[in-house]
């Protein structure tokens, strides 16, 4: 008689991978599309995420708003990683790259995902913040 594990094993292993993937989605900001969890089409694609550097106008993070200075900074490989895995560590790595580039705190490195909403027959494309890592430091000149 065929051992049961040979028949059930592949499905159980796939399910275990999916459980781990889901935990990583919730804890590490991994895109639901990746990691083997079968989350494709459940949300916007990871390539529709963006890394934003938010530098408040007056240098005080507690009054940060998006009405003032904000610039999308593409720090190549690090930002690309943060689109896929929006973890705090990844965002801090981007912040280090940004500071090396000459931008000093306080500022916030944030990952935003494209999102959509429908109201009164209108389809709106917008963004929602996935994760943010505020960086302390001396205001720049």
């Amino acid at each position: 008689m065929t051992e049961r594990w040979r028949v059930w094993g592949p499905a159980v292993v796939l399910a275990a991978v999916a459980v781990v993937q889901r935990a990583r989605v919730d804890l590490q900001g991994l895109s639901a599309w990746k990691g083997g969890g079968m989350g494709m089409y459940s949300e916007f694609h990871w390539r529709e995420r963006e890394v934003w550097l938010h530098v408040p106008d007056d240098g005080r993070a507690d009054e940060a708003s998006f009405v003032g200075e904000a610039a999308m900074v593409s720090i190549e490989a690090r930002a690309f990683e943060c689109m896929l895995r929006a973890s705090d560590d990844c965002l801090r790595d981007v912040a280090v790259e940004v500071q090396v580039d000459g931008v000093h705190g306080p500022f916030a490195v944030e990952v935003w995902s494209w999102d959509s909403s429908s109201a009164q027959g209108q389809l709106r494309l917008q963004r929602r913040r996935v994760r943010a890592a505020p960086i302390e430091g001396e205001p720049g000149e």
């Binding site: 008689m1 065929t2 040979r6 028949v7 059930w8 094993g9 592949p10 499905a11 292993v13 796939l14 399910a15 991978v17 999916a18 889901r22 991994l30 639901a32 599309w33 990746k34 990691g35 083997g36 969890g37 079968m38 989350g39 494709m40 089409y41 459940s42 949300e43 916007f44 963006e50 934003w52 998006f66 904000a70 610039a71 999308m72 896929l84 895995r85 944030e110 935003w112 494209w114 999102d115 959509s116 909403s117 429908s118 027959g121 209108q122 389809l123 709106r124 494309l125 917008q126 963004r127 913040r129």
Partner: protein, 274 residues
């Protein structure tokens, strides 16, 4: 068709899916693609032997070790499928039954996991994500290629401009209104989103409990056909068809299995050409 011959044919279908994956995964290392291609040929030529399935499993696992988070979901399904095939190759009805049951449980797991992920997503449940895909050509591309919905093209072109403006915005607070390609886009999107949930639930149940019933085979064939018409997910479609064909080995009626094999070969060819 005897059980043995049906299984060999279905195993070859897995080889076709792997060949399509190897040929179309341009982001993969060339060495990995070659390895998977060799494994696929072995499966096609010697479906009863363990070598092809083992080599495929090894190749897929190596690729996982190199770039786990960048791999598409069908990579994981293929790895589980070939691992299961390698574990259950053998002569006789018992081995054939084990292979079919393994494939059925794997299919059921894929559908159940996909269902759960969607149930955890508010934007999916509202239908907003599918509405966005309909508005931008993410859903319906093959229909437009077939010339069935020519009137959607203009909306997609107009929305592409709006999306480009949105992407280039200097603030994450910016928004843009997209044009609906047809009347009732959001209603259709929400209806489709709910229907997909039902379809995945149904397929999970039917393959877990009655994988050799013709209803299981036909249900999967309809699901895959719908997937192919809405979205160019040809490798995934080919993988589902191959698993379904293995799961249906030993089914009294050969028609559903043959339909799955035909769909699988078609989608594999499209994966390479498209």
């Amino acid at each position: 068709m005897s059980t043995g011959r049906a299984t060999s044919t279905a195993t070859r279908a897995l080889g076709v899916a792997l060949l399509a994956y190897a040929a179309s995964s341009h982001a993969q290392l060339v060495a990995i693609r070659l390895l998977l291609g060799v494994a696929a040929v072995m499966l096609l030529v010697f479906p009863e032997r363990r070598g092809g399935a083992t080599l495929a499993t090894v190749g897929l696992l190596v690729a996982m070790g190199l770039a786990f988070d960048l791999l598409p979901n069908h990579h994981f399904v293929l790895a589980a499928a070939y691992g299961g095939l390698a574990l259950n190759l053998g002569e006789g009805a018992e081995a054939a039954n084990a292979r079919a049951r393994m494939a059925a449980l794997l299919l059921a797991a894929v559908m159940a996991l996909a269902l759960i992920q969607k149930l955890l997503s508010p934007s999916y449940l509202r239908g907003d994500y599918f509405a966005y895909l309909f508005a931008t050509g993410g859903l319906g591309g093959p229909l437009e290629t077939l010339g069935w919905v020519p009137q959607w093209s203009q909306a997609w072109a107009d929305n592409a401009v709006k999306v480009a403006e949105f992407a280039a915005a200097d603030s994450p607070a910016s928004t843009v209104e997209l044009i609906a390609p047809f009347a009732g886009t959001h209603v259709a999107a929400r209806t489709l989103a709910v229907f997909v949930l039902f379809a995945e639930w149904w397929l999970a149940c039917v393959f877990a409990r009655a994988h050799r019933h013709r209803v299981a085979g036909w249900s999967l064939a309809v699901f895959v056909l719908g997937l192919m018409l809405l979205r160019e997910e040809y490798v995934f479609a080919s993988t589902l068809c191959a698993l379904g064909a293995v799961a249906q080995s030993g089914c009294e009626r050969a028609a559903p299995r043959r339909a799955l094999m035909a769909l699988g070969i078609t989608s594999a060819a499209l994966a390479v050409i498209a």
